[in-house]
């Protein structure tokens, strides 16, 4: 069964992203939204953790939340796909369940 995980907290402020990565299974999808989008940026203290997790999970980040925070899509970690709101909806339909890491 495949799960879509959403993470909406900054990895610098909470351990939501680290916990999600630790407790998710191979083949899942992780979508970073709201303050969670900072976890998608390259060159941060958390980039290596995310890059390492990408061998087991597909990563996505919500474009409008990146733009709101002045985070350039060009600096998103390679391999993380930027999606819009309809892409978010598509992800929810493609997976059996959705788990929000609040």
């Amino acid at each position: 069964m495949s799960t879509l995980h959403t993470v909406n907290k900054s990895p610098f402020e909470r351990d939501s992203l680290a916990t999600c990565i630790r407790l998710s299974t191979k083949g899942c999808a992780i979508l970073l939204i709201e303050d969670g989008v900072f976890g998608a940026m390259s060159g941060t203290d958390h980039s290596d953790m995310v890059s390492a997790a990408m061998k087991d999970a597909s990563f996505y980040v919500l474009g409008p939340d990146l733009a709101a925070r002045g985070m350039s899509e060009d600096r998103v970690i390679d391999g993380i796909q930027v999606v819009d709101y309809s892409g978010f909806v598509d992800l929810t339909t493609k997976h059996d369940t959705c788990q929000a890491w609040l």
Partner: protein, 134 residues
């Protein structure tokens, strides 16, 4: 009335929570009382003053341009912790250009952002009468 040193400590990213906007509102209210006000951006607080914020897609007000008005309220000291920027892969170039005009220097435009180390920022905190945490 005696002048006190007020420091607004900003540690939260904008938009995800209301702290950043609330802090800015209080800063602007406080400006009316002619106190010695400075701001510090630490941790995720540094994200509040990034360049190029565009909130059209999330249906929220982009309040980042308001930081550009602080100079007109004689709020000219915005301390940014260097270690916080580095942990986030950011540099000064990723932040807005925030300036103030020095009336004692023929209205020369001067930068408001002061990039400081943790140690330097600790010394600035030590000088404050009041620290307001957001």
């Amino acid at each position: 009335m005696s002048t006190k040193k007020f420091m607004f400590l900003n540690r939260k990213a904008p938009y995800g929570t209301v702290y950043a906007l609330e802090s800015l509102e209080v800063v602007l209210i406080g400006a009316a009382f002619e106190q010695d006000v400075s701001l510090a951006f630490v941790g995720d607080g540094v994200y509040q003053i990034t360049k190029g914020q565009s909130t059209d897609g999330i249906g929220m007000k982009n309040f980042s341009p308001t930081f550009k008005a602080l100079g007109d309220y004689e709020i000219t000291k915005l301390y940014v912790e260097k270690e916080s920027l580095e942990a986030r892969g950011l540099t000064l170039d990723d932040l807005m250009e925030l300036t103030w005009e020095d009336e004692d220097d023929d209205w020369a435009e001067k930068p408001s952002i002061r990039l400081v180390s943790s140690e330097e920022l600790a010394a600035v905190f030590d000088e404050q009468d009041v620290v307001l945490s957001f």
